[in-house]
Symmetry: C2
Subunit: 406 residues, 2 copies
């Protein structure tokens, strides 16, 4: 008997028929002798419907009240699933954030979970009930409703699984696992059976959209095996775990990419050790994060910087650099380019294999793709390229590193 | 400065436009210098939409889970109204049942409020915020979500107003007050400016649908002035209070009626002091309430009973009396009639005026309306008549007792 947490996203509970199918799947797991905790998103479309109501009243509605509004969506899905499971003759109980004490900070709309009390959940499991918990939501220390932001339900599921020391957290979604790259770009992309946490963290931060990075981080914190699988056609999916045994020996596990970055150049600014920290600080004050950074020293007096920000922050970043605040970074030429994309190869195998970088750049060179910026870690190589070459680069890298030799 | 609780029903918050109008109304009250607590129903149609989803899964869904589902409706309306008030530059905070500690028993779907803690609400009011509370819902002692059943939001409003010792509880609805009778039947029906609690209790229990009897009872318990008024066209409405000063001196205040009663005869049963209690007991065991009762002794051995039950219970009541259980009330002839209606004249003036009954029966006799059963209290006379004469009886009684002499 194992203790399993199963998370289902919005499309998995998007209609009564889908909810009935999820009920079958949950009951089947229970009948296999496991204890089951379910974490749900709102029915697909519901969050957008509620958001549209709010926008009709106020284009920038109160953040606290928006969280009260949006959490109504999960309340609907959890109670409907509980009804469907009870109809199948099993005990089930739906639970909201306050009922299982999911405590967060008070950052409405993007709160972080600080604590999940296991007491109530353990009680329900001991009484042989299937517990169905509203994902995406929490309560701050004053009892206000909060939401966790993007990917919130995945994070809820992982934090809950961690709190009750679950054996596995299963993330059911509309794809059947994590792929070596996006199959819409590279038809030869393969589902991976295993990925390590390190790889998944890199893939998530590099733009692979299957799992939100925060939920992968949380799973790593608890050393909790995480499995991504399809609710439409569940099989083994992809297991994300610390155990490297059984992991395929590919040097590179996947090719990730991200179209949401924009490039900014600050050229010919006066050399000085505090220049970069000044730029980073101004951006941080405006809530803008810098991703890739490159620095070139022209001569003894001048430096060029190139860095990337999220495309949503691009216009504001240019404004800041061109405004009065720019004085503090002296006078340099500022220019930018939003038509860029980042492509990355990720794999724990890189740690012990040399020559990966060489293969990587050779593959791009053969396609005449210019590299604008480079960034590396122990287990990944990322490059920024012209956005129009993105698909070509993904296919070239996939071919070099991930073509199966059979 | 007064402390005012304002309750708005589903049609009053049925669209974004209506919610904006309610926000205007609430803000206006605040600007007049009052402290305001708002209690809301779900947007009209929403509860039925959610109920339909549940019925798709299970015709008789889990009562606990149905309450979790349905309370999502109020969560939407309170957060939207809070946004609309905040947009108008006032502080507002939406609050769920658990956040203001509305504790109920655990009768899902028809819970009763046991306690409302005033602490949180007082705190919000002291900080000059408009508190917007989800009506219809509560939490039992274990923290499970409960709903209060029909007329639940009125009851929430009154119990909250009682707990914080409000000066007045205003029930905004789609009619502009309590009328002397239904204007759809008697075009001369007038809005009453004042009604006493006693009268309103009788009117509510006799079928006047403006206020649920439970909320009137609760207001009486707290000696809380209650006002019914229109959210579409608010003016003074009807004030329901203990103070009789200023109450118009009509002997009869209103003509109430109810089409939902059915008549049952049990004839020629053997006399015995326990017969009636046996019938009442069997019905109580099946959850059937008896309203009017009449007993006629034919001779020394036989009795006839006539009584009324809610039409929803009529078929079941006949079945019970014709079944084996009937043995315990001996063998009598059972028959029934569901085409009956109850008409009542209500007024505290009856206490001190004789001759009301005489006028009442004379008015019916002049229209050749047969009276089947009679029931009276200090402040009302009710008769059961053939349903087809209902409108005629209402108009005749309204003419005798409520025609204004100008």
């Amino acid at each position: 008997m194992a203790l399993i947490v199963q998370k289902f996203g919005g499309t998995s509970v998007g209609s009564i028929e889908r909810i009935e199918a999820v009920a079958d799947l949950v009951v089947k797991t229970k009948q296999q002798g496991h204890q089951v905790v379910v974490v749900l998103s709102a029915m697909s479309g519901e969050t957008n419907r509620l958001l549209a109501l709010a926008k009709q009243i106020d284009k920038r509605p109160s953040a606290r009240e928006l969280d009260v509004l949006l959490t109504a969506g999960e309340q609907v899905s959890i109670s409907l699933l509980a009804m469907a499971i009870i109809k199948r003759g099993h005990s089930a109980v739906s639970l909201l954030a306050d009922q299982v004490n999911i405590r967060t900070d008070n950052m409405f709309g993007k709160a972080r979970i600080e604590d999940v009390a296991a007491t109530r959940l353990k009680h329900e499991l001991e009484h042989n009930r299937i517990a169905i918990i509203a994902g995406f939501q929490g309560r701050d220390i004053e009892g206000n409703i909060t939401t966790l932001g993007r990917g919130g339900t995945d994070t809820s599921a992982v934090e809950i699984a961690g709190a009750i020391n679950a054996d596995e957290c299963q993330i059911y979604t509309d794809v059947d696992g994590v792929y070596t790259t996006d199959p819409r770009i590279e038809p030869n992309a393969r589902r991976m059976n295993y990925v390590t946490f390190e790889e998944m963290l890199e893939m998530a931060s590099l733009g692979a959209k299957v799992l939100h990075i925060r939920s992968v981080e949380a799973a790593g914190k608890y050393n909790l095996p995480l499995r991504v699988l399809s609710s439409f056609n569940p099989d083994q999916g992809t297991l994300i775990s610390f155990e490297e045994a059984g992991v395929q020996t590919n040097i590179v596990s996947g090719i990730a990419f991200n179209r949401d970055e924009s490039l900014i150049y600050v050229n010919n600014i006066t050399k000085g050790t505090t220049q970069l920290s000044k730029i980073v600080k101004i951006f941080a004050e405006h809530g803008i994060e810098i991703d890739m950074i490159s620095q070139v020293n022209h001569n003894f007096e001048k430096i060029d910087y190139a860095f990337t920000v999220h495309t949503n922050d691009y216009e504001q970043a240019l404004e800041i650099l061109n405004s009065d605040e720019r004085q503090i970074i002296n006078k340099g030429a500022v220019k930018g380019d939003s038509h860029v994309a980042k492509v990355s190869a990720v794999g724990v195998g890189m740690k012990s294999h040399s020559g990966v970088a060489s293969l990587f750049f050779e593959a791009l060179a053969q396609e005449n793709i210019d590299v604008i910026l480079v960034s590396t870690s122990e287990i990944k190589i990322s490059v920024l390229i012209d956005e129009k070459y993105l698909e070509l680069a993904v296919r070239a890298l996939h071919k070099v590193f991930l073509t199966e030799n059979e």
